[in-house]
């Protein structure tokens, strides 16, 4: 537990991604199985215990300390687990193995829980008590996403992170087979789980200047739909819908899942489609970020998959095949599915780039945000390889930026954090503010953002709060604006004209928001 609690103490205070990865790698190196695996699961919040509640802990404190002294302490510290860990008498100084703690917490009944917690708290020092309380109450929020943990694992074993991502859904804490492989003591674990996540291939933004060197015959063109990218996989009766970072979002889309009676894995766009007409992104938002969904919502906002690619067809892995071949297989594959829930993304016929540019300027439907260009010979590889796939967005004045600061509004919005400063990434990997906006969202969205701000405040300066904004955690805004000027007054060197929030991208990891180079390119 000592190794785990000191890891937590360091992780929360280490801002740099690479620093966090180093700490995790050292932890994996120094801590034996199965403790390190449980530590990892705790950090990625794949370990959950239910028997210890904050009210129970308050009760334990009430028996031990004067109410007034407790109140003064809690007011000062601001965090319940931390307050208790510091107030608890004694400094047991024992070091109990994390696997034993996990075992105890998993087996304890609600009735025994108080006595068990008292015993553990007595045996620990303050730092271990804090870790125990956070672990037991499910409050471990330490700025390490599953993705970062996977990168640390990849670094630890010198393998590609996509290899870890691919295995991840078949693995369970304490991950002993995984560590054995990463340490070169065993073969790579078989992907035993049905319907695993297959790491996604992404496109780079198109630099129009490079069109000159690109041959139109080498590329397929498709519309880029304004939904969210998903992977729809069904194998051996196991049906899953993954976000593009590998989160399982199946439960929110039973209407799609019901029609996944196939054997294979599709890459596509999740949209709301009513009788063939694609709904707006805000329609789709009615279905996002939910654990469950009502029947009414499903009828009002029916979910639909527009398929881009076929990754797996029965037993056959199609990813090593060229896009042209996969595309043919895709059409046959989707042809046998319910057309109320699935169709194939249309290929656009074009002879030269200027004809395509014209179509891009006036797409047939409003919910198209641009074009995708894919080399006919491209194999499907995870990540964002440079060259085979490009996205060519319709509106040059749209970027994805990360929420950095929020300020209280005025008038009827004075109880909300409603003015937002957002930023993009610098080459050094930091965020630099590029603009401020306070409209473009609905009242409901305002409430959601406000909650996000309050739950993820890093610091307060008067009416302003800084908000967690890390590559793996934060809130991405799609920001639309009318133009861009150079500005020496702004640290970023650019100033936006009439920026507004055109969309909330809860689905997008901040690390994939735009970079300052993208804005500089818009300056021309």
């Amino acid at each position: 537990m000592k190794a785990f609690s000191s890891l937590l103490d360091r992780l929360v205070l280490t801002p740099a991604r690479n620093g966090k990865i180093r700490l995790l790698k050292d932890y994996f190196r120094d801590v034996p199985d199965p403790d390190r695996g449980y530590g990892l699961a705790a950090i990625t919040r794949d370990l959950e215990f239910r028997m210890v509640k904050p009210a129970m802990l308050r009760g334990l404190m009430a028996e031990r300390i004067d109410e007034e002294l407790f109140r003064l302490s809690y007011d000062y510290v601001g965090d319940m687990a931390e307050t208790i860990s510091l107030l608890w008498e004694g400094d047991g100084g024992e070091d109990i193995r994390l696997c034993d703690i996990v075992d105890i917490l998993q087996k304890v009944s609600r009735i025994d829980a108080p006595a068990v917690m008292v015993d553990l708290l007595n045996r620990f020092g303050a730092s271990e008590r804090y870790a125990l309380l956070k672990l037991a109450t499910g409050g471990l929020r330490i700025g390490v996403s599953a993705r970062l943990a996977k990168q640390a694992l990849a670094g630890f074993g010198s393998v590609e992170v996509t290899e870890i991502e691919e295995l991840w859904h078949g693995l369970e804490a304490p991950y002993e087979t995984l560590f054995a492989w990463l340490e070169g003591r065993a073969d790579k674990p078989e992907q035993a789980a049905l319907s695993p996540f297959r790491p996604v291939m992404l496109a780079s933004p198109l630099d129009e200047a490079s069109l000159e060197e690109m041959q139109p015959v080498d590329f397929a063109a498709e519309w880029k739909w304004d939904g969210i990218r998903v992977q729809t996989t069904s194998e051996g009766g196991e049906r899953r819908i993954y976000s593009r970072t590998g989160d399982d979002i199946s439960r929110a889309f039973p209407d799609v899942v019901a029609h996944m009676g196939f054997e294979g894995s599709l890459d596509g766009e999740l949209l709301v489609v009513r009788e063939g007409v694609v709904g707006s992104f805000s329609d789709l938002q009615q279905r996002l970020n939910r654990k469950t969904v009502s029947k009414k919502k499903m009828e009002e906002f029916p979910a639909f998959i527009r398929a881009y690619d076929l990754l797996q067809d029965g037993d056959e892995n199609l990813r090593p095949l060229p896009f042209a071949e996969r595309r043919g297989r895709l059409e046959t594959f989707v042809g046998s599915l319910s057309d109320a829930r699935f169709d194939v993304s249309e290929l656009i016929k074009f002879n030269d780039w200027s004809a395509l540019a014209e179509m891009r300027a006036s797409p047939p439907e409003a919910v198209i945000e641009g074009l995708m260009l894919k080399r006919w010979d491209s194999v499907y590889v995870p990540g964002r390889p440079k060259g085979p796939w490009f996205k060519w967005k319709k509106d040059p004045y749209i970027i994805d930026a990360v929420l950095m600061y929020a300020q209280r509004g005025h008038g009827k919005r004075s109880s909300f954090y409603s003015d937002y400063t957002f930023g993009v990434w610098t080459p050094e990997g930091a965020l630099v503010p590029v603009g401020k906006a306070y409209f473009g969202f609905t009242d409901q969205e305002l409430k959601e953002i406000d909650k996000f701000v309050r739950d993820n405040t890093v610091e307060r300066f008067g009416p302003v709060r800084s908000v967690r904004a890390e590559a793996d955690f934060g809130l991405v805004f799609e920001v639309a604006f009318e133009g861009l000027n150079r500005s020496s007054r702004h640290k970023s060197g650019v100033a936006m004209r009439f920026p507004r929030i055109s969309r909330l991208r809860w689905d997008k990891p901040p690390g994939e928001a735009d970079r300052i180079e993208a804005l500089e390119a818009m300056l021309g």
């Binding site: 205070l13 620093g19 180093r22 002294l69 003064l72 302490s73 510091l86 890093v458």
Partner: protein, 334 residues
């Protein structure tokens, strides 16, 4: 006589009307008795100052030789206008003292800042029997429990091994904390050169002169183009320097801060500290309450810090206590 008649708060500080002197006045006065050299307790410009020889030396180093009209080193019992005054070690920093005043059978001890833990850089706190004990309450909440300082220093040395390419910048206040941290690093077995920000040099030299070994030290000046010479090195500086350009000269600096405040995660985060070292020169909650139990005075007066909780604790023990509400002492400068 009543305790209030012997000592009571005035805007300038704690005043003794019988002897016509102030203890740790925050404004210039005619006659001042000073507990220790921290700037908020020891100010320049008084007519006459009485303090330990070391505190007088430290004030001389900080403010120049003419920091007061006249000075007097405290030794044994001294009669000041009919009040018997004596100085006793407080364990806070080099030269720090509690001040005991006695008149007509009333004995008051103003402890100034103090701690009870082991510290080779300051003379150990001496419990002095009294009727009224004036205690500080900088860390006067039961959540404050300072851990073993050697273990905290261990964290610094571990981090150095873990991040050998990063310069380790440790924030310390110039008087007391700097030298204590240096001494602890040496006691933990680290013998390499430790680099100092210019603001720390004078007081470190003084500690060495007073017989406290601090090991090899050098100024933290970077040779042009040799940024990497500080990779994995330990550099001590005042915390204010870390926010300034000064810190940028070091390779990928890792900011540590040695302070009792570092026990609270929110404060650590607020200050942008990556490596908190909970090392304090003030008494923690247990030291405060143990001291009050040990001395068991008729009355406790509580000053700078979290008076409320300590007064509440006294109430629960049936001990008479009240806050003094003195102003001008810095909470943060620890």
């Amino acid at each position: 006589m009543k305790a209030d008649e012997l000592l009571h708060p005035r805007p300038e500080g704690l005043y003794c009307p019988v002897g016509d002197f102030f203890i740790d006045p925050v404004r210039p006065v005619e006659r001042a008795l000073i507990t220790h050299g921290h700037a908020d307790h020891a100010r320049a410009g008084h007519g006459h100052v009485m303090a330990t020889q070391q505190t007088l030396d430290i004030m001389g180093l900080r403010y120049g030789a003419d920091f007061a009209g006249a000075v007097q080193a405290a030794e044994g019992q001294v009669n000041v206008g009919g009040v018997v005054v004596s100085f006793h070690p407080a364990g806070h920093v080099l030269g720090s003292a509690q001040i005991r005043v006695e008149h007509k059978g009333m004995r008051i001890v103003a402890a100034g800042d103090y701690k009870r833990g082991v510290d080779p850089t300051a003379a150990t706190f001496e419990p002095v029997p009294c009727d009224v004990f004036i205690t500080e309450a900088t860390f006067g909440l039961p959540v404050f429990r300072h851990p073993d300082p050697l273990e905290e220093i261990g964290k610094l040395l571990t981090s150095r091994a873990q991040f050998p390419e990063r310069a380790h910048l440790v924030g310390v206040y110039a008087l007391g904390k700097a030298q204590r941290v240096l001494r602890l690093i040496r006691d933990a077995g680290y013998g390499d050169v430790i680099y100092l920000h210019g603001a720390l040099a004078k007081l470190c030299d003084y500690y060495v002169h007073e017989g406290i070994e601090l090991g090899p030290l050098a100024p933290a000046t970077v040779d042009k183009g040799l940024k990497d010479q500080f990779a994995g090195r330990i550099i001590l500086g005042p915390p204010s320097a870390f926010a300034a350009k000064w810190a940028q000269r070091f390779p990928d600096p890792l900011i540590a801060f040695a302070s009792g405040w570092m026990q609270i995660r929110a404060r650590t985060r607020q200050r942008g500290v990556e490596l908190p070292l909970v090392i304090s020169d003030h008494a923690d909650w247990r030291e405060l309450t143990d001291t009050l139990e040990e001395l068991n005075p008729d009355e406790v007066w509580v000053t700078h810090g979290r008076e409320e909780a300590l007064v509440r604790w006294c109430e629960l023990q049936g001990m008479a206590a009240r806050p003094l509400h003195l102003v001008g002492y810095e909470d943060e400068a620890e």
